[in-house]
Each structure stands twice: as structure tokens, then as C-alpha cells.
């Protein structure tokens, strides 16, 4: 059987022209600038950078504009772009203790060194629409208050617990331990925590949110407390071989979440709190929290727990967290499947014919009985 496989070029060209027109919308309305998106839709930009797995605010803003605000499509554009660039190497590990903090809260300690710093948060807003923002022109901004900052250190809450021996400690690897990299080797199972965290850091916020939520509702329950969330700028350092020393490339904004969970202990080790960790590009608190819940759930084996829930199933979670892969496979269904479907049609016609042949006699018998 021959099937037309060419054609549609003109339709596609015209469709893309139409897309460009619809993207622009009413030309009486000013066009969006990339800088406007980067400055005023910074949380969207953060999400595209996290899920596109590339920190570059102006690129993410461009992707959002091109994708008409479709953030998964925008992340897709970013992932495609990054494949065109050479990799210079790996950074030195980021030190979130040296963060220039813009927000830092703990739900486990009221008074802690460095204090509770609310920063720019939606928390405690009333979620009422602010129609002043809908008015044309600039909204008069209230002047932001300034206070004399404390100069003391702002230790991570997990360190406070660790000092007392109450927290399961971070394990340092051998010096020559290889760090898994999903952009170099396809994901395989079982996956160690380095691969899991990389996968979650670029995973879909909605998927991780739902999984984290499921663990709170009892599917793989682990009694979480937000030990600490911090958001701010951290320097990225890179060891330049030809220079023989590390250079500071600049700063990136990160959200870090330390989720403290109930105990693990055994005959060999004393009871301790356990934790999940979330680290995400940009101000992405929901994602960082969800990531830390899922990270903790996936550590069930380490702590000798039972695996009873979807959120604990490493293969299930990691194989479905990537929204670029997911959208590719789901959306490919709309591409032409004419040949496949022809085969299905023939099959269903044959099945029906067989069925009618087999049941032809029965109907006559039934009619006769009536």
C-alpha cells in the first residue's frame, strides 16, 4: 500500500506565519520586551531555567516570549539551545552557606542565629486581586524599608541539629568519586542520589508537587518539617585549567530547602532525624520544597524503610519527572500515524467480519425462537 508522505509544506509555512501573528497579538498593544519578561515575570523565568536546566535569564525570557508564555515549550527551546554549545567543564560545588540571603525561614526554630528573614514572599498576602496593577502606567511603589543587617553568620538549621548529633550527617565521597551526569549518560537504574537530585532539579514542578503532596497525604509518609528555606545569590566558581586557578564566573540565584523528617536508627547507629534536600535555580520555593520531599521519600532504602508508595519508586519517579520527555511522547501522538492506523482499521474490519460470521447463525435461531 502506498501512502502520501509528502505535502503540507505550504500549510506548515502558513501555519507558522499565523503563529507569529497570533503570538504578537493586537499590534495596538506594545510588544513585550525581553527585559520586561526577565524583570517582571522572574518566577516564570526561574521555572524555565530550572526545567530547561540552563541558568540564563535573558535566554529564558526570550524562550517565554517565543513560546507565547507556554513554560514547558520554553524549557524545551532552552534544552534544544544548550545542545548547540560546547561544555567548558564542571563548576566547583556551590557553597550555599555563603549565599547573599534575600529570604531565609525556618519552621522548626523560632529564634535561630540570623533570624527569620521573610524577603520578597507571597506568604501572608491575602490572595486578593490587586486592581491597582491593572491600571495603565506605573503603580506608585511604596518605599522599601531598610534595616541595619546583622553581620553574624546565618548557619543552616541542619548544622544546628548536626552539632547536637541529632541529624543524619552529609556523607562526603572519596576524592575521585565520579559524579553522575544525565546530560552525558542516559538515566539507568538503580540510580544513586547524585543522579536522582539532578533529575529532580530539572524535573517538572507540577509532577514533583503532586508527588510531594502524595507523601504528605500518607502515600510514603515521612513526617516532614521545613527545617529551612533560603533564597539568594551564590557565586559560581570554575577551575580554569590553563590558568591554574579557580575563577568566579558570576552569581546565580538559588532556592535551597532542607526538609527535616522523622527518625532513622539501628543497632549500629543512634536515632537521628533524616532529611530531604531541594536545590533549584531562581526563586522556586514550591519546587525546592517538593523536591526535598521527593528526595527524602526516594531514600527509603538507605533508612531501611518499606517501599509502598509511588513517590518512593525511583524508576517511576525519575522516568516521568522530565516534562520535555513527557511532552515529546504525549504530543507525538498528534503527528501522522496514518499507516499505523490503516493497519488497525484492517484489523478491526477483519475482527468484525469474523464476529458477524460466527454470530450469523445465532441471530436466526433467536428470531425463530421468538
Amino acid at each position: 500500500m502506498y501512502v502520501a508522505v509528502k505535502g503540507g509544506e505550504k500549510a506548515i509555512r502558513n501555519a507558522h506565519k499565523l503563529l507569529a501573528k497570533r503570538r504578537r497579538g493586537d499590534t495596538d498593544v506594545p510588544a513585550l520586551g525581553i527585559d520586561q519578561i526577565a524583570e517582571q515575570l522572574s518566577i516564570s523565568v526561574a521555572r524555565v531555567m530550572a526545567e530547561g536546566s540552563l541558568y540564563d535569564e535573558s535566554l529564558a525570557a526570550l524562550a517565554i516570549k517565543q513560546a507565547r508564555g507556554d513554560l514547558i515549550e520554553a524549557a524545551f527551546l532552552i534544552r534544544a539551545y544548550r545542545t548547540t554549545l560546547p561544555r567548558f567543564g564542571y563548576s566547583l560545588p556551590l557553597d550555599t552557606a555563603k549565599m547573599l540571603i534575600e529570604r531565609r525561614i525556618s519552621a522548626t526554630y523560632k529564634d535561630l542565629p540570623g533570624g527569620q528573614l521573610l524577603g520578597p514572599t507571597f506568604d501572608y498576602t491575602h490572595r486578593l486581586l490587586d486592581f491597582k496593577l491593572a491600571a495603565d502606567g506605573e503603580v506608585d511603589l511604596e518605599e522599601v524599608s531598610m534595616s541595619e543587617p546583622e553581620t553574624g553568620p546565618v548557619p543552616r538549621v541542619t548544622e544546628l541539629l548536626g552539632d547536637e548529633g541529632l541529624m543524619d550527617a552529609d556523607v562526603l565521597p572519596e576524592d575521585d568519586a565520579v559524579v553522575g551526569d544525565l546530560t552525558r549518560e542516559p538515566l539507568g537504574f538503580p540510580a544513586d542520589r547524585d543522579l536522582r537530585l539532578q533529575n529532580l532539579a530539572r524535573g517538572d514542578e507540577g509532577f514533583l508537587l503532586a508527588l510531594g503532596y502524595s507523601s504528605q497525604r500518607g502515600y510514603g509518609r515521612n513526617h516532614p518539617f521545613t527545617g529551612e528555606i533560603r533564597f539568594g545569590a551564590v557565586e559560581v566558581e570554575f577551575f580554569a585549567e590553563e590558568l591554574g586557578f579557580a575563577v568566579t564566573l558570576g552569581t546565580i540565584k538559588l532556592t535551597e530547602c532542607q526538609m527535616v523528617n522523622q527518625f532513622a536508627g539501628s543497632a549500629k547507629s543512634s536515632p537521628k532525624f533524616t532529611r530531604g534536600y531541594g536545590l533549584v535555580f531562581g526563586q522556586s520555593e514550591r519546587k525546592a520544597m517538593a523536591m526535598s520531599l521527593v528526595d527524602r521519600a526516594l531514600r527509603w532504602e538507605e533508612f531501611g524503610e518499606e517501599c509502598t508508595a509511588p513517590v518512593q519508586d525511583t524508576e517511576f519517579v525519575l522516568s516521568h519527572s522530565d516534562n520535555i520527555q513527557a511532552t515529546g511522547f504525549v504530543e507525538h501522538l498528534k503527528l501522522p500515524h496514518y499507516v499505523d492506523f490503516q493497519a488497525e482499521l484492517e484489523l478491526i474490519r477483519t475482527l468484525r467480519e469474523e464476529w458477524f460470521n460466527a454470530h450469523a447463525g445465532e441471530e436466526e435461531i433467536q428470531e425463530a425462537a421468538q
Binding site: L54, S91, E102, G115, Q116, R156, E159, V236, F238, G250
Partner: protein, 162 residues
């Protein structure tokens, strides 16, 4: 010249020299594009130089640590532009800068080379790096002050007589 020279010393910069250069490169990298360009255009005397490695855009995979202090993992990439130039007087200047601005990478590499040249070092320190560093510190201080104003002051109510 039969006397054997030890391999080290001669060309190896001291730890302090490296630390100073790291600091100066970090200030250049953190400078906003417009500010750096203005500093470059205002710099009276940009000498002739060769491009050793033209500005090139690439990626660095940023690593985090599990739990903040544990084993490293790959968090995601950052875009980076790097460039190497050489002055006629021999100093090689480098830049590694987040983002994709080739002009900024070139200008930072030239400043880095000039910083290493004794005839330019002081001028670069005082007219280029010092104002950039001051502006960057002021910006950081503003963030700290704005954040500090959002610190929660808990107060406790005293009930009863004592």
C-alpha cells in the same frame, strides 16, 4: 647558563598574586555590561593586543552538594563566555564570565591583561576596579538592608505577676 634553574619560582605567581588576580577577575565578571563598556571607553590608553582565543560561548555545569555540605551532584548548566588576549608586552589576559556577552568578555580580558602590566596596574586598580567593586558592595549592602527589614521580631507576652 649552565647552572640549572629550579622549575618553580620564576614564572609561578605567588598565592597572594593569584588571589589578587582572582579578585580582580571576579569584579570584572560581576560588572554590568554597560558599566564595563563605559569604563573601557573611558580608559585613555588601550594598547595594541592580539586575540589568542576569540570570545567563545559555552556551558559550565554547576554543581551543588547533597544537603548543602555533602557529596556533589550536577544541578544544571550556566552559560559562560570566555576570551584570551595578549598584549604586545606579553601579558595574557583571560576572562570567564556568566552570560553570553562577547564584547564584555573581550573587554574584561583586556582589563585583566592590563592589570598584570606594571605600567597600567595602578590605573586599572583605581579607575576601573575600585569603582566597580564599590558599586557591587553597595548593591550587596542594599540587598542585606532590604532583607534585614523583613526580619521577624518575635515578642513574648508576659502573663500574670511574675
Amino acid at each position: 647558563m649552565s647552572k640549572e634553574q629550579p622549575y618553580q619560582d620564576l614564572n609561578m605567581p605567588s598565592d597572594e598574586a593569584i588571589a589578587n588576580r582572582q579578585k580582580s577577575m571576579a569584579i570584572l565578571a560581576a560588572a554590568p555590561v554597560e558599566t564595563l563598556t563605559r569604563a573601557f571607553e573611558n580608559y585613555a590608553d588601550i594598547p595594541a593586543h592580539d586575540i589568542v582565543r576569540a570570545p567563545e560561548i559555552g556551558l559550565v555545569m554547576a554543581r551543588g552538594r547533597m544537603g548543602g555540605t555533602g557529596a556533589p551532584f550536577n544541578l544544571g548548566e550556566v552559560s559562560v563566555t570566555r576570551c584570551v588576549i595578549r598584549l604586545k608586552t606579553g601579558e595574557a589576559g583571560s576572562s570567564y564570565i556568566m552570560g553570553r556577552d562577547k564584547k564584555k568578555a573581550l573587554q574584561a580580558a583586556i582589563f585583566d591583561a592590563l592589570w598584570q602590566n606594571p605600567a597600567h596596574h595602578e590605573t586599572i586598580e583605581t579607575t576601573v576596579l575600585a569603582p566597580l567593586a564599590a558599586a557591587q558592595e553597595e548593591e550587596r549592602q542594599n540587598v542585606r538592608a532590604e532583607t534585614a527589614a523583613t526580619k521577624v521580631d518575635f515578642f513574648t507576652m508576659v502573663r500574670g505577676e511574675d
